[in-house]
Amino acid sequence: MANKKKKKLTPVQQEYQELAKKREPARPVVKNCFRAFIAGGTICLIGQAVQEMFVHWAGFTEKKASDPTVAVMILLSVILTSLGVYDKIAQWAGAGSAVPVTGFANSMASAALEHRSEGYVLGVGGKMFKLAGPVIVFGTVAAFIVGILHWIFNPAAVGGS
């Protein structure tokens, strides 16, 4: 793909792009990975602590505690988003704050906040899924494909026997 795209460029454009590439500071991949690891891990650690609280103090079973835990994490993320803090954390944390459920909540809350000025129906309602929508669509598609593969290669499991 990349080569095919490059072929469309004129020689002058190609020459310039090579020159520009040299001056382009690279994304600090190792540093970003390290930060994502720390931040993502920290968010998971907080999640685990919340879950433990539900298990020990509220009498949930470990399995049932995960639902309220996710709700609490989403609430925390939405609060941080509306206080204008989450995007600052994300610049440092990168994927570490984008991948967990808090990132998903942030994408919806930020879009809802941003488009509030266009009204509740077409603004908040219509544009809330601007960023989260693709995740849901392709998540569902992927789940569907995996389900079919599972059915083809292991039909017994679907039959329930």
Binding site: Q13, L19, P25, A90, A111, E114, S117
Partner: protein, 339 residues
């Protein structure tokens, strides 16, 4: 008067009678804070949407410029303005408030100098007694339109630029003590096939170099003619590339001082702005706020401001189009006779 292929010489010396700059809180923490007329503490400017906030910036800047010129808005013949919003709503709505006959323009971040060049040309050709030029941008409204919601947590790469919140305006008159707008070069579109909207500096640098080259060719001058040449918003990455291109095309920029407005407005150490600043307001507030002050107190005598613009839309980018870029140059002189 047409000079060379794409330049205007303003032989009647249109004067910048007065100017005004209004900026947001983040710009107020930067090194040029003392040069701005109004610094807002609130990014929303007390409005309930980012779009209204940007409109407020432009309304305040234009009103203050007219006031500083000692005029009333009824005396201004034309208002030339533009911004980055779809259908340039900030300028058009500000023009509604001002009720001055209005020429709306779009040149992305090159709008600041495009509007000044057109306003100066109107005055120079006696088509206007007084003309008002203005350009604005707002960080949050631009993020919302071109990128992601402002509070969305996305990590920006080191090539990304931070859009300036602000507006700059100037009143051009037929007579006055200067600074004078002496010439302008209108750029052509240069597209080097760059597609990364997080690396605008690299996309725009060739356009800046092309216009600067055309300016020197049309007026048969060399960079040494100017005390200072500034580009609009190339920022770190684009600035380095522009320097490479000057060398490659044998333009002797060492004769003068070359700077970039995108690298002047924020403090890289203290403010998290990646490569630097961008936006219509970037070159507008640096020129009208910082550089004109230096021209007025004779620290500088002759400058060339080359505002650069990336003419992409969110739609064209999503459809995989490359980024067409443009640059317009305007030369401003302090009014001291040549020595």
């Amino acid at each position: 008067m047409l000079k060379g292929h794409q330049s205007w010489l303003f032989e009647n010396k249109p004067t910048i009678l007065a100017e005004a700059t209004v900026v947001g809180p983040f710009e107020g923490q930067g090194p040029l804070a003392n040069d701005f007329d109004i610094i807002h503490g609130d990014l929303r400017m007390g409005q309930d949407s980012w779009e209204k906030a940007e409109r407020t910036l432009m309304e305040e800047a234009t009103k203050l410029a007219v006031e500083n010129a000692g005029l009333t808005k009824e005396q201004i013949n034309f208002f030339v303005g533009g911004d980055l919003m779809n259908q340039i709503i900030s300028s058009s709505f500000a023009a509604r408030t001002l009720a001055i006959p209005y020429i709306g323009i779009f040149g992305a971040c090159s709008t600041s100098m495009e509007s000044l060049a057109i306003a100066a040309n109107l005055v120079n050709s006696r088509s206007a007694k007084y003309a008002l030029s203005s350009a604005s941008s707002h960080n949050a409204s631009v993020e919302k339109q071109f990128r992601y919601p402002t509070e969305y947590g996305s990590q920006k790469p080191p090539t990304a630029q931070f859009t300036v919140t602000g507006a700059g305006a100037s009143v051009i008159a037929q007579k006055g003590e200067g600074p004078y707008v002496t010439s302008a070069t209108i750029g052509r579109i240069i597209d080097m096939g760059m597609t990364d909207p997080f690396n605008m500096g690299a996309a725009m640098a060739p356009a800046a170099v092309d216009t600067i080259q055309a300016h020197f060719r049309d007026f048969r001058i060399e960079p040494g003619h100017y005390d200072l040449i500034v580009t609009g918003d190339l920022s770190k990455v684009g600035y380095e590339i522009a320097n490479d291109l000057f060398k490659k095309h044998h333009i002797p920029m060492q004769q003068t001082v070359y700077k970039d407005c995108g690298m002047m407005i924020y403090d890289y150490e203290k403010q998290m702005v990646q490569a630097g600043a961008s936006g219509c307001a970037c070159s507008a507030v640096v020129t009208y706020g910082h550089l004109l002050k230096k021209l007025r107190n004779r620290e500088l005598n002759r400058i060339l401001v080359v505002a650069t613009g990336a003419l992409l839309s969110p739609l064209s980018y999503q459809q995989g189009e490359s980024i067409p870029c443009i640059a317009h140059a305007v030369s401003i002189e302090s009014g001291v006779e040549n020595t």
